[in-house]
Amino acid sequence: MKRKEIAIKCLKATIIGLVLILMYAPILVLAVFSFSSADTIGTSGEFSFVHYQKLFGDSAILTMIGNTLLLALLSAALATILGTFAALGMHYNKKRIRKVIGSISQIPVVNAEIVTALALAITFVAVGIPKSYFTLLIGHMVISTPFVVLSVLPKLKQMDHNLYEAALDLGASPAKALFKVVLPQIIPGIISGFMLAVTLSLDDYIVTSYLKPAGFDTISTYVFNATMKGNAHTAETLSSFWALTTIIFVVILAIVISSNLVGRRKKEAKK
C-alpha cells in the first residue's frame, strides 16, 4: 500500500513537472542564448552581452517599447474611469437597463478579436475617420472596458449600503458620500480592473494591427512584422528579441513573486 502511494505521488509530480518544463522551455532556451554571442539559436558562442547592447542601441525598438507601455497605461486609465462610472451607474439603475448594458458590454468579451477589429476598422473607414492614435485607443478601450465593468460590479454588490445612507444622515453631500464611502469599498475591484486592462492592451496584436496609424508599432506588431516580412537587419533584430523576451520574463517573474509575498504577509497579518 505504502509503495503504491509513493508511486502515485511520483506520477503526479512527473506530470506537473513535464507540463511546466514544456511551458517554460522555449523562453528558457531564448534566455540562455541571449547571454551568448551566437547569432542563431543552437550554434555555440561565448558568454556575452552583445544582444543586450544591440537591444539598447536600437532606437526603433526602444521607441516601440515606450509606445507599448504608454498605450497600455493610457488606454487602461481611460477604460478604468469609463468602466467604473458605468458600473456605478448600472448598479443604481433598474434591473432591465443593467441587463441591457451588461449584455451589450459582453459582446467584445466573447467575440473573436478579429471580428471586433474588422468591424471597428470598417466603421472608421466608412465614417471617414483615418487610422490614428485615437482609433487605436478606442480599439483597446473596446476590448478592456468590459473587463473593468466585470471586476467593479461584484464589489458594488457586496457593498454595505447602510454606510452610504449613514454618511448622508450625518450630513455628507451625496457626491462626498460617493467618494468617501462608496469608492474606498470598491477600490480593489477598480485596481484589478485596471491591471486586467493593462495586460489586455500589452498582449494585443489583432486589434492593434487593424487600427494603428502607419509607422506606429507596439511590441506585438513590431515582432510579428520583423519575423514575417524580414528585412536586411532581420537577423540582428531577431537576436535582440531574445534579450527583450528575457527581460520581460524576469520583470514579470519579479512582479508575480513579490505580489505573492505581499499577499502571504497580508494573510499572516490578518491571522
Binding site: I15, I16, I41, F85, V110, A121, I122, N260
Partner: protein
C-alpha cells in the same frame, strides 16, 4: 436628493454612448456590408458564394479541425494538471498554480517567436506546418484551459468522495461518477476559451505554419484588403456562431472571461 439619485444613475450614460458607437454600430455596419454588393445594392450573393465555393469550405473545415485538435489536446493536458493541483495536498500549491499562469503575462507574440526560434533550431519550421500550428496554439492557450478546470474541480465537496468510497466505489468510479460530471462547467468554459481563439488567432498559424496554414481568422484578414463584403459575411457568420453558443451555454458566467482569475 432626488436630483442626485438621477445623476447617480446617469453615470453609465458615457459608457452606453461608447457601446452604441463602438460596439453596436460596427456590428450593424458588418451586417450591412455582408448583405450588399460592390454597388451597395442589397444582395445575398456573398452568402451564396461563401457556401458554394469548395475552396472556402475546405479552409473552414481545416480551421475547425485544427481548433478541435487544439482543444482536445489542451483538455487532455490540462485535466490531469488541474485535477492534481486541486485534489492533492501539495506544499505551496498557490505558487505552482501561479507558475502555470505566469507565461500568460508575457507578450504572446514574443512567446510564439520563442517557439519559432526553437522549431527553427530543430529543423521543423517550414516542414511540419500543421503540427507547428497546433503545438503553438496548445502552448499559447493551455493556461486558459487549466484555470477554469482548477476552479471547478477545487469546488467539489470532499464529502462526496468519502461517500463514494463508503458505498464501495473505487478510484475509477469516484472519477467517473464524481469528478467528471461535477467538473463539466469548467470543461465547457475552458473549451469556449480555447476553441474560438484557435480558429481565429492567425498570428500563431502565420508565424509557425510558415504562412501555409489558413485559419478562419486569416481568411477574414485576407478579404479585408480586397473584398469587404465577403470579409464581413465571414465575420458575421462567426459572430452569430459565437453569440448562439454563449447563449446556449447558459449566458455568461464570470469564469467565461479571460484572465478574470489573474
Amino acid at each position: 436628493m432626488t436630483k442626485f439619485r438621477l445623476s447617480r444613475k446617469s453615470l453609465c450614460i458615457p459608457y452606453a454612448v461608447f457601446l452604441l458607437f463602438f460596439v453596436i454600430a460596427p456590428m450593424l455596419i458588418i451586417v450591412f456590408y455582408a448583405f450588399t454588393d460592390k454597388n451597395n445594392h442589397i444582395s445575398f450573393m456573398n452568402f451564396v458564394n461563401f457556401f458554394s465555393d469548395p475552396t472556402k469550405l475546405t479552409t473552414i473545415v481545416y480551421s475547425v479541425v485544427i481548433a478541435l485538435i487544439t482543444t482536445v489536446v489542451c483538455l487532455l493536458i490540462a485535466f490531469p494538471v488541474a485535477y492534481i493541483l486541486a485534489r492533492s495536498k501539495i506544499k505551496r500549491k498557490s505558487v505552482i498554480l501561479l507558475l502555470f499562469v505566469t507565461p500568460m503575462w508575457i507578450n504572446f507574440v514574443l512567446r510564439i517567436n520563442a517557439i519559432r526560434e526553437l522549431m527553427n533550431w530543430m529543423g521543423l519550421l517550414g516542414e511540419t506546418n500543421y503540427f507547428n500550428t497546433v503545438f503553438g496554439m496548445v502552448y499559447d492557450f493551455l493556461p486558459f484551459m487549466i484555470l477554469p478546470l482548477y476552479t471547478q474541480i477545487s469546488k467539489i465537496d470532499n464529502s462526496l468522495y468519502e461517500a463514494c468510497a463508503d458505498l464501495g466505489g473505487n478510484a475509477f468510479t469516484s472519477f467517473f461518477r464524481v469528478t467528471l460530471p461535477l467538473s463539466m462547467p469548467g470543461v465547457l468554459s475552458g473549451i469556449t476559451m480555447v476553441f474560438l481563439p484557435s480558429m481565429t488567432n492567425y498570428v500563431v498559424s502565420d508565424m509557425l505554419g510558415n504562412s501555409k496554414v489558413t485559419i478562419i481568422g486569416k481568411f477574414i484578414e485576407t478579404y479585408f484588403g480586397t473584398n469587404w463584403h465577403m470579409g464581413s459575411m465571414i465575420a458575421l457568420i462567426l459572430l452569430i456562431v459565437v453569440l448562439l453558443s454563449s447563449f446556449l451555454s447558459g449566458g455568461f458566467r464570470e469564469e467565461n472571461t479571460r484572465r478574470t482569475t489573474a
